[in-house]
């Protein structure tokens, strides 16, 4: 695989992405909302204590929060629910970019001249995949960084500690990219079969369902996943994604694209 060819594809993908207003708004708006919403929610509950039963349950699961004031405990509980939303960004942004990119090329019939050039299909796939993955992962990280800064400024060191503990770091920096990779793979596989980016996103969105499930489990306090859990989950998702990528390479075969993609 030649890096300069992958970079050429990636560079063009990004230029086109930046000129697609719909796609850009899809990338920018949700991270902004996700940065601000937890802070607002935290502010809303700041001076309100959790119901005693819930507070006891939270402290049983998080004994390290025992020193918090009632307001800090409520704020910590509120922002904690948002960790999993930071995983949704690396999931849906790459999915949007990958589906727009591949289906867009199918509809505009721009792939044939590209495939007529001395480019290997694996280089084309790599360029497209990285171009889709990186903005999602970076958006997740940037949003998280902004969130940490805002949370620290607004609530002080107590909540800073909450949003930078091992669970958050593993979730954002290990599980996030793995989820992004799985999202790209889903985008590639689905886009090879359908001709409408919205349909592809809906089908590809099925991969987000387990993450939503995780949100609900966290919110109800049934299960709190720690750093080890996130890392194991990342490894599983990564392995499954790599297997999916192998299938994706088959679908990105030159002849398949030219003769089967409709």
């Amino acid at each position: 695989m030649r890096a300069h060819i992958v970079w050429t594809v990636l560079r063009r993908e990004w230029i086109e992405t930046l000129r697609n207003r719909l796609l850009v708004s899809t990338i920018i708006v949700p991270p902004v909302v996700l940065t601000i919403a937890p802070i607002l929610l935290g502010a809303f509950v700041d001076e309100r204590a959790l119901p005693p039963e819930l507070a006891a349950q939270v402290l049983a699961q998080r004994p390290e929060w025992a020193a918090f004031t009632a307001g800090e405990l409520a704020g910590a509980f509120a922002v904690q629910q948002f960790l999993v939303f930071f995983l949704l960004m690396p999931a849906y942004i790459p999915l949007s970019i990958a589906t727009f990119s591949i289906i867009g090329e199918k509809l505009a019939r721009t792939l044939e001249p590209v495939l007529a050039a001395p480019i290997r299909t694996v280089e084309l796939l790599a360029g497209k995949s990285v171009a889709a993955l990186v903005p999602g992962v970076l958006a997740g990280w940037a949003t998280y960084a902004a969130f940490v800064v805002l949370a620290s400024l607004v609530y002080g060191p107590a909540l800073f500690g909450v949003v930078t503990d091992g669970s958050w770091l593993a979730g954002v920096f290990v599980l996030g990219p793995a989820v992004g990779l799985s999202s790209v793979v889903a985008g590639v596989l689905v886009s090879a079969r359908v001709n409408d980016p919205r349909v592809a996103q809906q089908i590809g969105g099925v991969i987000i369902i387990p993450i939503v499930g995780l949100v609900l489990i966290q919110a109800t306090g049934t299960l709190l996943v720690g750093p080890t859990g996130y890392t194991i989950l990342a490894v599983i998702i990564g392995v499954v994604s790599l297997l999916g990528l192998r299938a994706g390479v088959q679908l990105f075969d030159r002849e398949t694209i030219l003769t089967r993609w409709r």
Binding site: H4, I5, T8, R12, R109, P113, A116, A117, I119, E255
Partner: protein, 323 residues
């Protein structure tokens, strides 16, 4: 490498099957350097499949082919770097400028920054697009888009340029612009394979024409085709049009040396002769002597359409039935 340096493209028994259906079989042909070869045939005849095999986009099921000495199967990357292709649709990136479109492909073909800059300016100037170089391709007219796609195919100085239906779906004005661009390449001595179902285009632009329908039915120059398949004749317009020529005049025409046959035409007569110009004066004299008024006499050039239907073996009637 090929032994004949003048032969750019060489195919023997090339064929491609999709599932259990052969798209094309037994394609054997040579294209000389600087030659324009037309692949002429109806939709679904196998022209695009042939182009795709020769540009190493798809593998042949049978047979072999070399382009500039490189095997389309074993040296596909080398073939791809030596051919340029205009696909059925321009396939441009609409959100990129004309220059950015070409730059992207220049990079894929491994051109250096200086080579890209030079080639982009050269071809955009040649096709009259230089002033629009920074406009996004999505704002271009169909003719301009097609010219930009041709420029893209030429950027890396390919040994052979494949143009697949370059004027299909274009209005007459845009088609004229594109034909003019192809004519420029022809004059510059480019080796071109032109797949088309436009008879006039093939007639005007090609040195040789290959009739395609599931295979190569016949390959020859337009003049060679006319010589071997055309029927030279005089078209005689009479006054009034549709006049029935008296029997003695018909007999006199038939007796003229060199006249093979005389038959009624749309506005008068058709006189079949090996050398129509040579018999024309005698034909006019015989008709005037027979009391028939002659308005115009023209030597008819056999149309490629006539030859096309002779080679293809069927001509649809006006109601769409194949005769």
């Amino acid at each position: 490498m090929t032994t004949d340096p003048d032969r750019t493209l060489h195919a023997i028994g090339l064929g491609r099957r999709f599932d259990d259906r052969w798209a094309i079989r037994d394609v054997s042909l040579d294209v000389r350097r600087g030659e324009v070869l037309g692949l002429l045939g109806p939709n679904g005849a196998g022209k695009t499949t042939t182009v795709r095999m020769l540009t190493a986009l798809i593998e042949p099921t049978e047979g072999t082919a070399t382009v500039d000495g490189f095997d389309v199967r074993a040296q596909a990357d080398a073939v791809r770097s030596r051919v340029g292709i205009l696909t059925e649709t321009p396939g441009l990136y609409d959100k990129l400028s004309a220059r950015a479109n070409l730059d992207f492909f220049g990079r894929l073909y491994g051109l250096t920054a200086a080579e890209r800059a030079r080639a982009i300016e050269r071809w955009l100037r040649q096709f009259g697009l230089w002033d629009r170089r920074d406009d996004i391709a999505g704002t271009f007219s169909k003719g301009m888009r097609q010219k930009l796609a041709i420029a893209r195919a030429l950027l890396h100085e390919p040994a052979v340029v494949f143009l697949d239906e370059p004027t299909a779906a274009l209005d007459p004005e845009a088609a004229f612009v594109v034909r003019d661009a192809v004519e420029q390449l022809r004059r510059a001595g480019r080796t071109i394979v032109l797949a088309t179902h436009n008879l006039d285009e093939a007639d005007r632009l090609c040195d040789r024409i290959a009739f395609v329908r599931g295979g190569l039915l016949r390959v020859d120059s337009p003049s060679g085709l006319r010589e071997s398949l055309g029927q030279p004749r005089l078209i005689v317009r009479l006054a009034p049009a549709g006049l029935a020529v008296p029997e003695p005049a018909m007999t006199a025409l038939g007796a003229i040396p060199g006249v093979d046959a005389v038959k009624p035409g749309d506005q008068g007569l058709e006189v079949i002769a090996a050398d129509p110009a040579a018999v024309a004066p005698e034909v006019v004299r015989a008709l005037v002597a027979g009391g028939v008024d002659v308005v115009e006499v023209t030597v008819a050039r056999t149309s490629l359409e006539d030859i096309y239907f002779q080679v293809m073996g069927a001509r649809p009637s006006s109601d769409g039935e194949v005769a």
